[in-house]
Amino acid sequence: MSFPWARQYEPKTGLTKFLDEKLPLPRLMYGAIGAGYPVPRNLSYFWNFGVLAGFFLVLQIITGVVLAMHYAANAQVAFATTEHIMRDVNWGWVMRYAHANGASFFFIVVYLHIFRGFFYSSYKAPREMIWLLGVVIFLLMMATAFMGYVLPWGQMSFWGAKVITGLFGAIPGIGESIQIWLLGGFAPDNAALNRFFSLHFLLPFVIAGVVILHIWALHIPGSSNPTGVEIKSESDTLPFHPYYTAKDGFGLGVVLLFFFAMVFFSPNMLGHPDNYIEANPLSTPALIVPEWYFYPFYAILRAFTVDFILPAKLWGVLAMFAAILVWFFLPWLDRSPVRSGHYRPLFRKFFWFGLIPCMALLFYLGGAHAEEPYIMLSQIATAYYFLHFLVILPIISQIERPEPLPYSITEAVLGSDKKAVLGENTTPAV
């Protein structure tokens, strides 16, 4: 769908006319991310993170392809080829640090993108499909990042692979066979490293494919906005280009400043020292932790310490997967007709004083030693996490009295919507 006032692409030169006739790619781009896409005029900077996530996906693919030219997925030499990239390949250290920190920044912007979605209920009708595809992208990202972390074949690579594939061992009866099948052996070794490399190369392109679907689905209803009020007329919108290309450009500059400050001045801050020790199956690290972006889910995994009908380990695995799968059901769990958290007093309280501290705590606890008081705290945070999404959210949406919404986006921005007051139909603001 497009809005009736959306600008139409007009090829001017001979070449663009030729292209438009044979393969209307410029027309597609014009309508998707150009002046032909009308976007709500009131988007805040929280709406920058989708474009930023796309940027980091491209950056990861480019740096990753270059790294793959110099890396060898063989357990004998993987660690050494990684060091070869750092020492001997021209600018190899930039590529590797940009790739490692690029993964972190990809997750940072995607987490912000997701939490923007939580606060503004971006998952609600008519945008359920965008949300579902987004959760699929997140799951694919997690799989890709996990396998990528195994490739340098350091201690954390090896033991992380062992622990994570070991999760499948929790499945009763067939778990162990599944783990052996996944690894191609009893422990991570050459077979596992090779398949992880193969999949780590493949999945980003699958992600890119799902991103295209995500953006396609976005263009059906159009972007949401901070008021949650749907677009009513042309004065509610601005063309994506130049308004949001300019805004995203500025946002990208700011994020890149942080990113390159990290790459050039503190590239190992988010990594773990143990991964500079070559994988050694005979020496278990004192603390096995995944990369920081898995911490909340790792904390949930480790929160289950006592058997209850099912073994504790199985509960942990189920809860960890459920913690993400529950996001798939958000459009049907939260039935409040109001989207934006700005107009939902009760929802807002649980968001800022419930979900956010809960997630912050889980982020912290996932990286902590598995000892008290961290275990107790992670049990409380895990309980709240599930209660928040599955119990509190549905109940809030039933009992809450939302605050009055603006009539339109134009009214929210300008203080009044003249056309609405006069009952006119045409007063384009731009």
Partner: protein, 293 residues
């Protein structure tokens, strides 16, 4: 509508279920945790490692900070310490002789040093494995033919390769320097609190080592153990810091280049971002509402 209601009903059931099981685990953990707390004033049983392991001292190095640069003289001193002391047991497998050119040695010195080391080779006449003098392109040879030999010669503790050691330890440079100068008898307080703690005769007490008992015997024991060419007084502290600096360079020879590359990148980006800000402002000026008072 009834279908949607059932999604929520199942959801509430599942949510309560997970929350219940998580809290079930909590209930069982509370009693032991708080009894430990009542006894010791903390949630974990105090262990000797927890109480007496110390974080490394904070030394000052020329390469620290965003403007840091290598102190070539220090790297050369540290290299000398590595070569005369550490190299007896520790390999440096990711560093090639040619790399020494980066810390201020000229081609002749690098060639001479490489030639002074024996590296595994192949006899060109017979094809037999032999040892030959090193070339600048060779990597530092390992003091042991394999891991088994290394373990056998060191009471079953394999001396780790040192190429990446400062990156492979938390606060690595300070850790190496502190560890090397941190040997000494266990404090009296430790013996009071943990009478069962002992240091076996094959191990050595070191408060900077996570287990407190370290297999490596103190490698730097006396001043002037290594005689520096630049006249610097070679105290144990000085040698420890110098070799830690050298091993920081071996762990990341590109570190200073990295920081030096970072500045133009950030300055360019800052400029581009400021420009992006003003162009955004200009583009939006026409449609921005006047400030409401």
């Amino acid at each position: 509508m009834s279908k949607l209601l059932s999604v929520r009903l199942v959801g509430i059931f599942v949510g309560l279920g997970f929350a219940f099981v998580a809290l079930w685990s909590l209930v069982f953990g509370l009693a032991p945790a708080f009894s430990t707390f009542a006894e010791h004033g903390q949630f974990v049983e105090p262990t000797v490692e927890h109480e007496f392991h110390e974080h490394p001292k904070d030394y000052a190095y020329s390469f620290e900070g965003a403007l840091g640069k290598w102190d070539t003289a220090q790297l050369q001193r540290g290299f000398k310490v590595y070569n005369e002391v550490c190299a007896a047991c520790h390999s440096l497998k990711f560093v090639a002789f040619r790399d020494l050119g980066e810390i201020g040695y000229d081609e002749g010195q690098v060639k001479a040093f490489a030639a002074s080391k024996q590296v595994p080779g192949i006899d060109p006449n017979t094809g037999e494995a032999n040892m030959r003098p090193g070339l600048p392109t060779d990597y530092f040879p390992s003091p042991y033919p394999n891991a088994v030999a290394a373990a056998a010669a060191n009471g079953n503790a394999i001396p780790p390769d040192l190429s990446l050691i400062t990156k492979a330890r938390h606060d690595g440079t300070n850790y190496v320097a502190s560890l090397l100068s941190g040997y000494g008898p266990a404090p009296a307080k430790l013996k009071e609190e943990f009478p069962e703690f002992s240091t076996p005769s094959t191990l050595h007490f070191n408060k900077y080592f996570p287990n407190l008992n370290l297999a490596m015997a103190p490698p730097l024991t006396t001043a002037e153990q290594v005689s520096y060419d630049d006249g610097t007084k070679a105290s144990v502290e000085q040698m420890s810091q110098d070799v830690a600096a050298f091993l920081t360079w071996t762990a990341e020879p590109t570190m200073v280049k990295r920081k030096q590359t970072g500045w133009p990148v950030l300055i360019f980006l800052l400029f581009a971002t400021v420009l992006a800000y003003f162009s955004k402002k200009q583009i939006w000026a026409a449609v921005k509402p006047k400030k409401r008072s």
